[in-house]
Symmetry: C2
Subunit: 491 residues, 2 copies
Amino acid sequence: LLLCLFAGALSIPDPRLREALIQLEASMQTGGEMVLTDAEQRLDARLCKLKQEEMVRADFPPAMHFFKARDLIRTSPMFSLLQKMPKGGALHVHDFSIVDTEWLVKNVSYRPHCYMCFTDNQSVRFTFLSRWPKRLPHCSPWTLLENLRAQTINVTDLDNSIMGNLTLFTQQDPETVYPSQDAVWDRFEQTFLALWGLVTYAPVFRDYYYRGLTQFYMDNVMYLELRALLPGIYELDGSTHDTAWTLKTYQEITRQFTADHPDFFGARVIFTVHRGVNISVMTAAVEEAMKLQRDFPDIMAGFDLVGREDRGRPLWYFRDALSLPVERGVTLPFFFHAGETDLEGTEVDQNLLDALLLNTSRIGHGFALLRHPVAKDISRKREVAVEVCPISNQVLKLVNDLRNHPAAALMSESHPVVISADDPAMFGASGLSYDFYEAFVGFGGLRSHIGSLKQLAINSIRYSSLTRKQQEKALALWQRRWDKFVSENAF
Amino acid sequence: LLLCLFAGALSIPDPRLREALIQLEASMQTGGEMVLTDAEQRLDARLCKLKQEEMVRADFPPAMHFFKARDLIRTSPMFSLLQKMPKGGALHVHDFSIVDTEWLVKNVSYRPHCYMCFTDNQSVRFTFLSRWPKRLPHCSPWTLLENLRAQTINVTDLDNSIMGNLTLFTQQDPETVYPSQDAVWDRFEQTFLALWGLVTYAPVFRDYYYRGLTQFYMDNVMYLELRALLPGIYELDGSTHDTAWTLKTYQEITRQFTADHPDFFGARVIFTVHRGVNISVMTAAVEEAMKLQRDFPDIMAGFDLVGREDRGRPLWYFRDALSLPVERGVTLPFFFHAGETDLEGTEVDQNLLDALLLNTSRIGHGFALLRHPVAKDISRKREVAVEVCPISNQVLKLVNDLRNHPAAALMSESHPVVISADDPAMFGASGLSYDFYEAFVGFGGLRSHIGSLKQLAINSIRYSSLTRKQQEKALALWQRRWDKFVSENAF
Ligand SMILES: [Zn+2]
Ligand SMILES: [Zn+2]
């Protein structure tokens, strides 16, 4: 409409037209049309001031690598406000990166029967076993950590070196330690293998998940959708449980946690399989997923593939397996990672469109979406939300300065997005607040405001896998917490 | 249309629909609908193979800083093809950065009466004068370069150190030398001051411009729109000419060059003023511009402001001065730099919208355009082309990996764009081919093809300041050269 006014011939710019166009653009952004209460407006004034303070700093955190920016962020008044803010749900987080690494070392690795060995490529492996474990290929013989610590003079050093193996986070210069995407992804996979033996031990598995929920809860996240590999969890005698057991355990602990914390809404699980598998393994996984979806409809949210897109097989390679549910008339929602790539125009770069063709419910990352106008249009029209994980994209070297993150463009036109954390413990983060900081201060720019934050929180419930009815309930719970947050922090 | 087909309920993905959507997306990109001749298709196959070879390199040049990537690019077969390609016009280049620095040192600084001094902040200044020049503040006393060279043992070292002062390019690690936007812009301005005394000396000025045209001509660029400050050019006796003289000299040398090279189409000048000036200086400059536009309609293309946007005054600050031409019913086309910034939501970030409100004919850089959906829409609908200068944006630290350049998104949906070089000599580049390489291999991705290149060349004529009639003539000339290029290189 305003654009029509603007279609005329050469004229002196009209300040009212200018103001109207500025307002139009502002209203188009995520949360741009949100009507704010008086208290929200007061809180917004405070947020705006804090944001300006962040932007005039010599070291502007969103322009820096997160490993260097973390302490600056954590100690900023903006961050403490964002931490207190009820952020709704975390819709893109992976099972074994939700608890801080320190706990894995200081608590888990101190438990009895914990063995460790050193791999040829300078990583470590762990296992718990009632007897001495059999030696692994490409590994040193196992040592009981208890014995190793007893023989070690500086146990703190030992623990720190173990900790360094369980996260990508480092105090050294991240550009030197991880010079390329290949380098950082290789370390990512080694780190994952390192913590595997710790977190898949049944007693730890339960505690780990409970503690993960606690960390998100403490960060004022009220709901989780966990991408989970549902591996065979093992006991001290070496026996392992089946997939259903793992899922059931997630369900039990979620129930227990929700009972302990009535203002936490719950969690659901997206069953994930590595995209490196072959077609028959994928087919079996989809079959299993359909079964789980039928048997555990409350906790099971759907299905996804994980692992580095650039190196794995594209979705289209698995199209037959992934078409099984529709063929059989069985419900199995998809939540595909897609477009977490720089390789424009390659087979992998088709994942975005293929995810949509396969009726994905959301898109994990969607970093390449701006380069795919057709996929972008479908995602917008069908409200297939993009799960934006800024810190993950930066650490895994898709983008350097987070002001250039494609979500800046997506949010400027209210594309359906949610903010998530992917693998917070791996990146030295925790909960959602660090990613909210990057989104709000980094690619939100000065224009984004409390309405944007509110919209992002609401999106995280609206685009969740919850039923409409559950969403209403969750929104009501969130609104109560939000009102409390606003009234306590607006002055 | 296809999207309607796709609106249905859950279904197995149809490979034909998929293919159609892929084709739709491919056709939406810059040049995506170009109909190719047989010869063009053969050349395209070759280009495609070359591009794939570039993409599998361990060091992918567009992901690297240009200073590190330059030699890789220059020695690539892709680059030699792009060099031979008739690229049309260069619509965004600045007056004193079009000739390689080596010539300034090896030729210009060896001319008689050339004085040099050293500034307090480790830069240099030059002047030509028939008598000994007066000492400058914050500078060492002047030395005649001829004398200095006679006293110097290693003249090569001296010349190299002078050369280092006349360009940003460095063999050292660019991230270390230029750690921030402030650092690189400060050096940019110092470098500019250093070469000022050389290039504004009348005999050099003429040679410099002729040589600049030669460099673009050798790079198969047939037309130039030069943003020029039109400074007072000085003679050996210290006297200076007025602005009209400078513009007239541009006109004379352009005519001479075109006479010497009949397949070169010509050049026009966009008069530029530094955005750091105050309102009365700006008003006087606009008055002067209107006069020049009236007196030299052939060579004068229009008006623009230069200098770092983040530190200068926003366009809106000068709205009264910039409205003068429309108020008086006088034609003065604008070619505003706008959106060369990361400071989303600030006053400076309004330049994009304001440039459009002021009826700009093109947008210089428009790096922030994706974050401004209203401005983007107006630019698209009114065909206000964006002058994309990839290497400039990388060196001046707006973007690191050029695959993330916003023009990737703009080109994926045929937004009106042209590729240009901004200040090639400053960045160690020359002509347009390096920037075409970054655009085609970097943000074009595998999908962009010879149609994209052809469209970019055609855009550079269509979006030029030439009249329709001149454009037709230029296009005909370009087409002959293009056909020759295709037939010589398709096999
Ligand atoms: Zn993920
Ligand atoms: Zn420029």
